[in-house]
C-alpha cells in the first residue's frame, strides 16, 4: 500500500513539503546533464537510471517512506547573519553541508560502493534544487526565517471577488508551475529565459551560491513577514518573473559541480 502511495505521489508530482515540484526539478537536472562535459555525462550515466524522477526528489521519497536518516531541515540552508554557513549544523540537517559531504563521496567514488555513490549523487541533485529556492533559507537574526510561515497577499482596489485574501506557505512561495508542463518544456523555458546568463550564473563556489541565495532571501524577508499583506502584483512579479532566475542558477550550478566532481 505504501509503495503504491509512493508511486502515485511520484506520478503526480506530489512530494511532501518539496520546494519545487518534481517535474520542474527533473527539468533542472535534464538541462544540467545536457550542459555537462562528455566525460562527466559518461561517468554520470554509470550511476543514474533513465528515470530522473527517481533521482531528483530522492530525499523527499525517503521521507515519504519513513526511511530517512536525516532531518527535514536538510532541505534548508542555515546561515549566520553574515550569510556564512552556520557552525552548529551538520550534513544531516543542512543542505550545504549535506551537499559537501555527498560531493566528497563522489569525488572519492572509487573508494565507495556504487550504491553509496548513487545515493550521494541523488542527494546533491535534490539539494542543489532546494538550496536555490529562496524560501528554503534559515538566517540567524531573522526569526520568521527559522520556521515556515504563511504569506498573505491580495489584490487591492478591485471588485469584491478580486480583493479576496489568499495564502501561500513561504517554503512553497517561490514557485510557478503551470499545470501540464513537462520536464522537457522546462528545459526549453529555462534556456529561453536565462540561457544567455549561463556563464554569469555559473561563477563562484558552493559557499558563494549559498550566500547569494541568503542575501536575496533576507532582502525579501524584510517585506514578507507573517504579518504583512502583499499585493497580488508583488506576489506575481516574484513568482513569475524572479523565480525562473533561481531555477536557472540551480541547473547551471549543478552542471558546474558535477563537471568538477567528474573531472
Amino acid at each position: 500500500m505504501k509503495k503504491l502511495l509512493f508511486i502515485v505521489m511520484l506520478a503526480f508530482g506530489i512530494s511532501t513539503a518539496s520546494a519545487w515540484n518534481v517535474t520542474l526539478d527533473e527539468g533542472i537536472l535534464k538541462l544540467a546533464v545536457k550542459n555537462l562535459s562528455i566525460q562527466a555525462q559518461d561517468e554520470l550515466f554509470q550511476y543514474l537510471g533513465d528515470n530522473y524522477r527517481d533521482d531528483v526528489h530522492y530525499l523527499y521519497a525517503l521521507e515519504a517512506r519513513k526511511k530517512a536518516k536525516h532531518s527535514k531541515e536538510i532541505h534548508y540552508l542555515h546561515l549566520d547573519s553574515e550569510f556564512r554557513p552556520l557552525a552548529t549544523t551538520t550534513a544531516n540537517d543542512d543542505a550545504l553541508k549535506a551537499i559537501e559531504a555527498a560531493a566528497d563521496i563522489v569525488r572519492h567514488r572509487t573508494q565507495h560502493p556504487k550504491g553509496k555513490v548513487l545515493e550521494a549523487l541523488r542527494t546533491i541533485i535534490n539539494l542543489m534544487c532546494d538550496m536555490h529556492n529562496p524560501g528554503h533559507v534559515r538566517i540567524e537574526g531573522i526569526p520568521h526565517s527559522q520556521q515556515d510561515f504563511t504569506v498573505t497577499f491580495r489584490a487591492a482596489d478591485m471588485g469584491k471577488k478580486m480583493s479576496e485574501t489568499k495564502h501561500a506557505k513561504w517554503s512553497r512561495f517561490w514557485s510557478f508551475a503551470p499545470n501540464g508542463f513537462t520536464s522537457d518544456l522546462w528545459v526549453e523555458d529555462i534556456e529561453a529565459c536565462n540561457g544567455h546568463r549561463r556563464a554569469e550564473f555559473s561563477k563562484g563556489t558552493l559557499n558563494d551560491w549559498a550566500a547569494e541565495v541568503g542575501k536575496f532571501a533576507a532582502k525579501n524577508l524584510e517585506e514578507i513577514t507573517p504579518e504583512a499583506v502583499l499585493t497580488l502584483q508583488h506576489r506575481n512579479t516574484l513568482t513569475q518573473e524572479v523565480t525562473c532566475d533561481w531555477v536557472a542558477r540551480a541547473s547551471f550550478r549543478l552542471t558546474v559541480l558535477l563537471n568538477e566532481l567528474f573531472k
Binding site: M158, N179, G180, T182, L185, D189, A192, L232
Partner: protein, 261 residues
C-alpha cells in the same frame, strides 16, 4: 518608471474590461504548446526575444494579472453573438482585443512599438485568442436564446455551466501539454489551412459561434458532470479538442503573420 507605466497604460487603453473566467490553466497551456509547434523559426525567435519564455509559460498570465490595474482593462474573455450567428462587434470585447492587437502589430508595425508593449501584447494574444474559442465564451442573449441559461449538477449539487466547459480539455484526463498535443494535433496541413481561413477574424468568430451552440446539445439541463456516460464524455472532449486545435493553429497563424519578414 513613469515612461513604462505610460506605455503600459497606452496599451491597456486599447482594451475593454474582463467578464468571466478562462479555459483553465491546462487548456491554455496546451493550446500555447500546440501553437508553438507550428511557429516559423522567425516567429519563434521573435516570441522568445520579446517574451523571454516559451508561449505556454505565459498562457495563463492574463488570468493572474487581470485583477491588477492597468491590466484589469485588458482581460476580456468573451464576445457576443447576434441572433443571426454573426459577431456582435459592438460587444466584441475579447475578439475585438484580438483584432486590434493583431492589426496594430502586423505588417511590421510591431517594430515601431517599445519592446515592453510588444511583450504585453503577446501575453494578451497568447491568452485572449484561445479564450474566444472556449464555447461558453460566446455570449448568446437571453432574449434570443433563453434556453441556454441553466446550471449543471455535480454530485447532485448545482455546478456552473461555464466552469465545466472552461475545464473541458483537461476533464477526467491527467495529461501534460505534450501528450495533449500528441493526441489532438493530428490534422493535415490542408486541414490546418482550412482552419485559419487566411486570418479572417470575423470568419473565426462566426465559426466559433456555430460551434458554441453544440455544447448546449452535449450537456443538457440536468446533466450531472460527475456521472456522465462515456458517450457524453467523448462528445465533450470532441468539441473541446476541436476548439483548442483551432485556437492553436489560429494563434500560430497570427504570430507567424505578425513576425514574417
Amino acid at each position: 518608471m513613469k515612461k513604462i507605466i505610460a506605455i503600459v497604460l497606452c496599451g491597456a487603453a486599447l482594451f475593454s474590461t474582463y467578464t468571466a473566467n478562462a479555459w483553465g490553466g491546462f487548456g491554455h497551456g496546451s493550446i500555447a504548446y500546440m501553437a508553438e509547434q507550428h511557429l516559423t523559426p522567425e516567429a519563434k525567435a521573435k516570441c522568445r526575444y520579446y517574451l523571454k519564455h516559451t508561449l505556454p509559460y505565459y498562457a495563463s498570465w492574463m488570468d493572474s494579472w487581470r485583477a491588477i490595474p492597468p491590466y484589469n482593462k485588458t482581460g476580456a474573455h468573451s464576445f457576443s453573438a447576434n441572433a443571426d450567428g454573426t459577431v456582435n462587434w459592438d460587444h466584441g470585447k475579447a475578439i475585438g482585443n484580438v483584432n486590434r492587437i493583431y492589426n496594430s502589430m502586423k505588417n511590421g508595425k510591431y517594430k515601431q512599438m517599445p519592446d515592453s508593449l510588444v511583450n504585453i501584447n503577446l501575453k494578451i494574444l497568447v491568452h485572449a485568442l484561445p479564450d474566444i474559442h472556449c464555447p461558453v465564451h460566446v455570449g448568446f442573449s437571453k432574449k434570443d436564446f433563453p434556453q441556454y441559461k441553466y446550471s449543471l449538477l455535480r454530485k447532485g449539487k448545482p455546478f456552473g455551466y461555464h466552469t465545466f466547459w472552461d475545464g473541458s480539455p483537461g476533464f477526467k484526463r491527467r495529461w501534460n501539454y505534450a501528450r495533449y498535443a500528441k493526441e489532438v494535433d493530428v490534422i493535415s496541413p490542408k486541414q490546418a489551412k482550412k482552419i485559419v481561413k487566411k486570418g479572417n477574424i470575423n470568419a473565426w468568430g462566426e465559426d466559433i459561434i456555430r460551434q458554441a451552440h453544440r455544447c448546449y446539445d452535449i450537456t443538457l439541463k440536468g446533466t450531472d458532470v460527475a456521472y456522465m456516460t462515456n458517450e457524453q464524455k467523448e462528445a465533450v472532449w470532441k468539441l473541446a479538442d476541436e476548439m483548442a486545435l483551432k485556437a492553436a493553429h489560429r494563434l500560430a497563424y497570427v504570430l507567424n503573420d505578425i513576425f514574417k519578414e
